[in-house]
């Protein structure tokens, strides 16, 4: 058991990892030899292979190139704020004048320092020593200055195993449109309101959240359970960055069926024989009479082998014809037609969730659902989320906020 654990915690070639430098995170696939561009840094990632998740690495300058860094595993880090000996602090800022001369080091001097040995402890100490105003700053202001500079020249990174939380935050920070504007609190409520039990069949239409939604639902369905997800998408290939990053075990991956919305519905309406027949051969294998079996085999000889997308479509149609236990729609498109179409596959006595970044399309949907007699408890809401800086004597909401999207939830009756 111990050994097995050791292995899963080791960083291996082929793993997707999240590289974290302070608050900044980036997804990276480990190859035998690979570089990562993190802001302005080019980092050679070879040295993380064989180390463990959550290990810390120091970025070291390489001799041959200015921008290139290698990584070295460390067991302790130097914190500027703690290591620096501050002798004097001011009481307020009345004597501090803003001019270009307050910092004695020029940009060239700093660049030189960076090239010699990149690292916050080294550079920040020099910055402080050459600052004419640092000792006049108040204690709090000094700390803020140090934190700000430390962040800029921070030389440590941590390798993390991707989780839904880290992925959601990462995509949203990089660009909210990567997840259709779904913020982490939106995601949490979409999932909760869909009432996803590990044993059910679940239906998702997602027009592009970098694979975050299918990954999050598959994560809730869990490994070694009975649950199944049908993930409908509008294109030829679905987005699956987040899904790949989660590195689910194979049996779990297989319980997420990715199908094109148009092609699966065409199959459902126009090709009923294809999936019904397969169902018979799959399920009734044991009790089937040999004679019948023979006929089927003969029939089959004429046909071309089925393509994998056809098999997926048929599998999805079989599940859809038995109806599903939850429905989530996160679409760029106007949601009314999609919801109207997909609601038929939802069992009665189940809830469904529709997300949109805009309020108006969901108002249209609200009015449409109101006109139906089999939908109750329709709620339209949005969220206000804010983070806090919590520091002794300096607690306040963070300066930046962002606005989330809108969520519509409702229940379908069974009649």
């Amino acid at each position: 058991m111990e050994n097995a654990n050791e292995d899963t915690n080791k960083i291996k070639v082929g793993d997707f990892v999240i590289v974290q430098r302070q608050g900044y995170t980036k997804l990276h696939k480990i190859k035998a030899q690979s570089n990562l561009i993190l802001g302005s840094f080019h980092i050679e990632m070879d040295n993380v292979i064989g180390e463990r998740y959550f290990d810390t690495f120091q970025m070291k300058n390489t001799s041959n190139s200015k921008k290139f860094y290698t990584l070295e595993k460390v067991n302790e880090v130097n914190s500027v704020v703690e290591s620096l000996n501050i002798e004097k602090s001011g009481t307020d800022n009345r004597h501090i004048q803003v001019n270009a001369e307050s910092q004695g080091l020029s940009k060239e001097d700093i660049d030189k320092l960076k090239d010699e040995q990149f690292g916050s402890s080294n550079i920040v100490e020099q910055l402080v020593n050459n600052s004419k105003t640092f000792n006049m700053k108040t204690e709090y202001s000094q700390e803020k200055y140090l934190k700000k500079k430390e962040k800029k020249y921070f030389e440590y990174i941590v390798i993390r195993r991707p989780t839904i939380r880290l992925l959601a935050q990462m995509f949203y920070r990089q660009d909210p449109t990567k997840t259709l504007g779904i913020r982490v609190d939106d995601l949490s409520q979409i999932l909760n309101h869909a009432n996803i039990h590990p044993e059910g069949n679940h239906l998702l239409y997602d027009s592009g959240t970098s694979g975050l939604l299918p990954a999050a639902i598959t994560n809730l369905i869990g490994s070694k359970t009975e649950g199944h997800l049908i993930h409908m998408h509008p294109g030829n290939e679905c987005q699956k960055n987040a899904f790949m990053a989660m590195q689910f075990p194979q049996e779990q991956v297989e319980r997420c069926t990715n199908v094109n919305l148009y092609s699966v519905l065409r199959c459902f309406y126009q090709n009923k024989d294809s999936y019904k027949k397969t169902q018979d051969t799959e399920i009734d294998n044991s009790c089937e009479e040999p004679a019948q079996k023979k006929i089927k085999v003969e029939d089959g000889e004429e046909q071309l082998p089925k393509k994998s997308w056809q098999i997926d479509n048929e599998r999805a149609c079989r599940i859809l014809s038995n109806r599903v236990d939850s429905l989530i729609i996160t679409s760029k498109e106007h949601p009314v037609n999609i919801t109207k179409e997909l609601l038929q596959f939802l069992n009665g006595n189940r809830q469904f969730v529709v997300f949109n970044i805009l309020k108006e399309p969901l108002m249209d949907l609200y009015n449409y659902l109101k006109s139906r007699e089999d939908i109750i408890s329709i709620r339209l809401c949005n969220n206000f989320m804010r983070n806090y800086q919590v520091l002794p004597e300096r607690t306040h909401p963070e300066v930046n906020m962002c606005s989330g999207g809108y969520i519509l939830t409702a229940y379908k009756l069974s009649c």
Partner: protein
């Protein structure tokens, strides 16, 4: 047994959600008799604004179907953690769905997770936690109030969640979580008046691979103390956040339109024009309620690193969600 999985037909003993209108949602039990407040066994009749409901009659009905009442109708639904949160009997202040959702996602709980919760309270969060950890995981929930422990235990049993949860009567601030939970937990949730007293005890409960913690506190002073202790005990990525939800009512409103053009012509002409034009317009709007909850509690999340990384004190707390490249 009605919380476990998806169910079609109401069986005797099931908890059933009775939905009348968006603000009138109740939870009743499908059984012939019930113990009243005086402790006597009486017929289980539930009085609704639309007439009385004999709860025994619900047995055999389909979940999600319409039922008639003497002065109207209602719908019967299978309960789930969200409906339970809005219908449960309050024994304490409870945590509502926006916060619950955030807690489940931020604690990184999935089927198989082992989660510690303290206190149990009225069990609003517990139901959502159990749904998230089952079928292989487990919830260990603690409360220092003996009656609440007993009631919660009975409730989980009745709801079919008994095998996924252990309810203990225990003051975790004083006694910790017990040696049997050493190195067992993936996530810890604290809703306590003095969370900073319990935080030190959580460290040894985490698995070697580490995990996540959340502390829910209504007051900022509690948050400040908790954050200091979290950082002292080696937690990382310490982040405090709050989530508030607004529910909109979608309505069509009719607004009068002032005709100011008529001022440019003589009175007689204006009269004529006025007769032709209707001076109202219709707008569709999503209207927030006149008053919304402005505060529930602060959620403080943090990460306990795996054992091999616990000596490295790295400041990962500067998570900045919003476009701070």
């Amino acid at each position: 047994m009605s919380f476990e999985g998806y169910k079609d037909v109401i069986e005797e003993g099931d908890s059933v959600i009775l939905y009348l209108t968006i603000t009138q949602v109740y939870c009743v039990k499908a059984q012939p008799k019930i113990v009243n407040k005086k402790g006597n066994l009486v017929d289980n009749v539930f009085q609704t604004p639309f007439g009385a409901l004999k709860c025994f009659d619900l047995i055999g009905k389909y979940y999600g179907s319409k039922i008639s009442l003497s002065k109207g109708w209602g719908y019967v639904m299978q309960p789930n953690p969200e409906l339970w949160t809005i219908t449960l009997p309050h024994r304490t202040q409870i945590i509502y769905t926006p916060d619950i959702s955030m807690i489940v996602l931020q604690l990184e709980i999935s089927p198989g997770s082992v989660v510690i919760e303290s206190g149990t309270g009225s069990g609003s969060l517990s139901h959502a936690l159990i749904r998230a950890v089952k079928p292989h995981g487990h919830l260990h929930t603690f409360d220092f109030h003996e009656d609440r422990v007993k009631t919660a235990r009975d409730e989980f049993q009745e709801h079919g969640f008994g095998k996924y949860v252990t309810v203990k009567h225990h003051d975790v601030c004083v006694n910790g979580f017990g040696d049997d939970l050493d190195n067992k937990a993936d996530a810890v949730f604290l809703d306590l008046p003095h969370p900073w007293l319990a935080i030190p005890h959580t460290v040894k409960s985490f698995k070697d691979t580490g995990g996540r913690i959340c502390s829910f506190s209504p007051c900022i002073e509690q948050v400040q103390k908790s954050c200091l202790i979290l950082s002292k005990y080696g937690f990382q990525e310490i982040q405090t956040t709050e989530v508030l939800q607004t529910q909109y009512s979608v309505q069509q409103r009719t607004l009068p339109v002032l005709n100011l053009e008529c001022l440019k012509v003589s009175k007689e002409e204006a009269e004529l024009e006025k007769q032709i034009k209707r001076d109202v317009t219709k707008v569709m709007s999503a209207i927030p309620p006149a008053s919304v909850p402005g505060h529930t509690g602060y959620l403080t999340f943090a990460t306990m690193p795996p054992v091999w990384a616990r000596n490295v004190q790295l400041n990962l707390s500067d998570i900045d969600d919003c476009n701070n490249e």
